[in-house]
Subunit: 201 residues, 2 copies
Amino acid sequence: MSRHPKHPTPDHEILPAIGQRWSPRAFDVNRDVERADLLRLFEAARWAPSSFNEQPWRFVVTGPRLSPEPHARLLASLIGSNQAWAASAPVLVLSAVASTLARSGEQNELAWYDMGQAVAQMIVQATSMGISVRQMEGFDRNLAQAACHVPATFDPVVVMAIGYAGDPDALTSEKHRAQERQPRLRRAITDFVFDGVWEAK
Amino acid sequence: MSRHPKHPTPDHEILPAIGQRWSPRAFDVNRDVERADLLRLFEAARWAPSSFNEQPWRFVVTGPRLSPEPHARLLASLIGSNQAWAASAPVLVLSAVASTLARSGEQNELAWYDMGQAVAQMIVQATSMGISVRQMEGFDRNLAQAACHVPATFDPVVVMAIGYAGDPDALTSEKHRAQERQPRLRRAITDFVFDGVWEAK
């Protein structure tokens, strides 16, 4: 069996659930994500570290069967190029973050950072289960906030499409079909890790 | 063997490398982290997703043997209560983020979020290898930036202590010794995951 084009050959050994994570646009429209499996993803998010254990992350889950009206509204909040493929994902999740600290009302400088940690844990868990996640920042934040009744004290961060990777040829955009098969590219470690002091690159 | 007090009983099954992650203050001062193992942590960070694949994360690694002068300066940038324990960690890492987009010079709204994703992947990898990481936000950002010669175009985010968990009784602070044995607490999933639309909690 040939290697999947999205699975890198890491320079240093890492967990398959980290190395084999990638973000498809093509989802299997006929395969829903079981409720019990979704809960495992959120359980993984739940145990993430956060500044003062604030756990500023919140998630609103929508699906065409579970919650057709919010799902349609959340889908409609996406920019056109995302709508083109995201409709095939069985689950869309809107993430929203508490930008102020519950204990003081002050700005939580690490709120978005901590949200990133929670979502990363969620996606590593998903990858270990054969479930794929693609995050989108291309959406109308006001529309998404209204779609899922997110209070004004929380800020939308990303919309995630969750499901099982599908056939790239089912994508309507030729560009998207090609991107589905391009290898993932990253900087070399020597470009972002420095010993003792920064080195100009 | 009794269960470690920091290892939760998750409500839904998750990877041990996620569930068993916790943030010690007590490190084994006699056990360094091998260079090859550190590289595996950064390799895990390397493959994180990021907005437009900007990979805004940078890391400066210091240790008392590898880079004694930057290490001493970075340690000195920590607030006193962190200095009290962080000196026993064999590695300190300063993370810094490119807050503007390389391709446009505009603000990268997701820079800190993406940094969080990279660090989370790094820590899941570390946990799988028996290596512990504690993140600190309690440090003087200007001092840390100067300690590691971080350019002004990058923002310090956290300082991470990395090593092997040690004996809690070696900690000088009674409060820290107690915290080392307290169970980790998290909101219930029903408090942060909503179906279709937000529910007031």
